[in-house]
């Protein structure tokens, strides 16, 4: 999948505002591309745009999937792709399931869509097998249950089973494990890895859990306010993060070596769409201690090393005020 200059705009009040702003990204076969960023940075909007699931938004740019521009596809044509060649695990699992249908029948329906030759009995065996693969303890029982009879974590696993049932070539997983405890999370992540290793699938993994990213991703794109601010292979991103935003995110995590310390807090919040600054760097107001003159006017993505792109020019001079104080003794606040 090659995403080129994708812009997704929503109508807020009387105007359109871009939640995804001119994003260019490639996901290869046999690759996990992670997308990280705070709440509201546009990760889900990007995922929905790729799947063609935004009906109210204005979408520009091209989505090249195996040589075809699917941005131009009709919903009918997209329906043939979705669920088979490309599938998505939704952040909100409850809304992804039909409340009036037992979950077994829902996964069966997904299977049938693309395996019309399979017998009913074989499909049932297959569905139960998938339910047990995603860690559901009594799959035969769960097969017969309605979504509301399951806990949040169980529902999430059903949605995952449904998405991988047809072994898609492109899987978009939007916060797939946020609702799950760590042992189940590890199991689900293994399944996603299998899909990549066995089927050579391309995977877009959206999450704000940087631990999951460190474990799963081949490459990582950091998104802030609708834009990609940094993209690199996973090793470079964690060993030498460059953009002030990436560094701030990594810095805010608890670290096992220092307990009970104060964690770094990124000042302020992601501005709502209609208040987003459209000129200059969007992260600027959250690092107010950096001198205005060291920022660039309209930062573009620069390739600082093969495959490592940063939308920043001041990154070399960037510092955190508290660390700076310790280092130089003069208090920058």
């Amino acid at each position: 999948m090659k995403i080129k200059n994708l812009t997704t705009s929503f109508r807020v009040l009387d105007d359109y505002y871009a939640a995804v702003d001119n994003v260019t990204l490639t996901v290869n076969k046999n690759e996990v591309l992670a997308i990280v960023g705070e709440s509201g940075s546009g990760k889900s909007a990007l995922a929905f745009s790729i799947m063609g699931l935004h009906n109210r938004a204005k979408i520009e740019g091209t989505l090249d999937f195996k040589g075809q521009n699917i941005a131009k596809y009709s919903q009918g044509k997209l329906n043939k792709l979705r669920g088979k060649e490309m599938a998505m695990i939704f952040q909100d699992s409850l809304s992804a399931l039909n409340p009036l249908m037992i979950v077994g029948a829902q996964i069966d329906e997904a299977l049938l869509l693309h395996n019309s030759s399979m017998s009913k009995k074989d499909r049932k065996v297959r569905v139960i097998d998938f339910l047990s693969k995603v860690g559901i303890p009594r799959p035969e029982k769960t097969y017969e249950q309605y979504p509301h009879e399951l806990s949040g974590g169980m529902r999430q696993r059903v949605v995952i089973a449904m998405a991988i049932a047809n072994q898609p070539e492109l899987l978009i997983a939007d916060e797939p494990t946020t609702a799950l405890d760590v042992t189940i999370q590890a199991q689900i992540l293994d399944l996603i890895k299998d899909l990549k290793d066995d089927m050579r699938a391309g995977i877009i993994l959206i999450t704000h859990d940087l631990g999951v990213v460190a474990e799963m991703a081949d490459r990582v794109a950091v998104m802030y306010a609708g834009q990609i601010v940094e993209i690199a292979d996973v090793y470079s991103l964690f060993s030498s993060p460059q953009h002030p935003y990436t560094r701030s995110l990594l810095n805010s995590l608890p670290n096992s070596a220092e307990t009970k310390t104060k964690l770094h807090v990124i000042q302020g919040v992601v501005p709502p769409l209609h208040k987003m600054p459209r000129e200059g760097c969007r992260f600027r107001h959250r690092i107010p201690w950096i001198d205005e003159s060291s920022h660039e006017e309209n930062p573009e993505l620069h390739e600082i090393k093969p495959g490592h792109f940063v939308r920043c020019t001041c990154y070399k001079d960037f510092y955190f005020p508290d660390k700076h104080k310790e280092a130089s003794g003069n208090g920058a606040t």
Partner: protein, 311 residues
């Protein structure tokens, strides 16, 4: 003396059924839990989903009926006598809820939300109440104008602060925090965790911190209890649990924590597979015939593990 001591706590929920709607079975949500928390400490309660963490917290604060066992708060047994008889003690224990989006009444203004416990327990004039609410808002780092707003006008982190302001309004001694940051972004998470640690020092608070994020638990907890199917499998100082886990379930839990260094991926996968294999193979030894953990046995001054009689 421990601030809170929980002894052989059991909370069973009846399952009703049949034509007469009689009790046909029990969910043993909490089934014999023991722990105690020293004043000023943070005690972490972790475990798989459905293991009874929330039920334990709710039982301590009196939101779940206790089937049997004792809950001693500064020596008062909260499990005995009705709710009313412990009214004075009740205001010393408050709870922060998991979801900052649904735990605040959307129809009430912040001033009313924060003042609610004050109205229940203290008779203040309108003016005194206003002063107290404003003090609380300042304490949690929100502007005093914010009291006229409604919850939806705040971000997740700000809403969680409003929940905290409400919880500390009566100057409690113990706060039960049930997944207080799970629904929040990393940066907001950091903000709320820092803040909880600050007011802990300032007000001398004690926390019962329920979470399934072991990275966070490690960061802020002094002692940790690990629950599995309504019981404890292990308890110890933070160090004991993270550097020297003994029970197969704890080992599995600890090995499942994602690591921030991508270079350790392979070694972690190996470790994790080994922990899973041990868990599957040694289940018979570590759990009784019903698949439940054994009672805890001390293996050091601070460290207890659920091991069978024979050792």
């Amino acid at each position: 003396m421990a601030l809170l001591e929980v002894k052989d706590l059991k909370v069973h929920f009846p399952i009703r059924g049949g034509i007469f709607n009689t009790v046909v079975d029990q969910v043993k949500a909490v089934d014999g839990v023991n722990f105690s928390i020293e004043p000023g400490q943070t005690y972490g309660l972790v475990g798989e989903s459905g293991s009874g963490k929330t039920t334990t917290g709710r039982a301590v604060i009196g939101l779940n009926k206790i089937t049997s066992g004792d809950v001693l708060f500064e020596g008062h047994n909260l499990a005995k006598g009705g709710r009313k008889s412990h009214l004075n003690v009740r205001k010393d224990i408050q709870m922060i809820f998991q979801d900052p989006y649904s735990s605040l009444n959307p129809k009430k203004r912040v001033a009313d939300i924060v003042a609610e416990p004050l109205r229940n327990f203290e008779k203040l004039t309108k003016k005194e109440e206003r002063v107290r609410v404003e003090e609380l808002m300042e304490l949690v780092g929100l502007s005093t104008e914010a009291i006229f707003k409604y919850p939806h006008e705040f971000s997740g982190g700000q809403r969680q602060r409003i929940g905290i302001a409400r919880a500390i309004a009566l100057k409690p001694k113990l706060i039960i925090a049930d997944e207080p940051v799970s629904a929040l972004d990393v940066s907001v998470q950091a903000q709320v965790l820092n803040f909880m640690q600050e007011i802990q020092k300032e007000l001398g608070l004690t926390y019962l911190f329920i979470s399934h994020d072991l990275g966070i638990v490690r960061h802020i907890c002094d002692h940790i209890g690990i629950m599995y199917k309504g019981r404890y499998v292990e308890q110890g100082a933070s160090e004991d649990i993270f550097t020297n886990p003994q029970h197969i379930y704890t080992k599995r839990l600890v090995s499942a924590i994602p690591d921030l260094d991508p270079n350790r991926r392979e070694s972690l996968t190996v470790k994790r597979q080994q922990a899973k294999k041990d868990f599957d193979e040694l289940s018979d030894k570590f759990f009784d015939e019903e698949g439940l953990p054994y009672p805890l046995k001390p293996i050091s001054d601070s460290h207890l593990v659920a091991l069978p009689e024979k050792g």
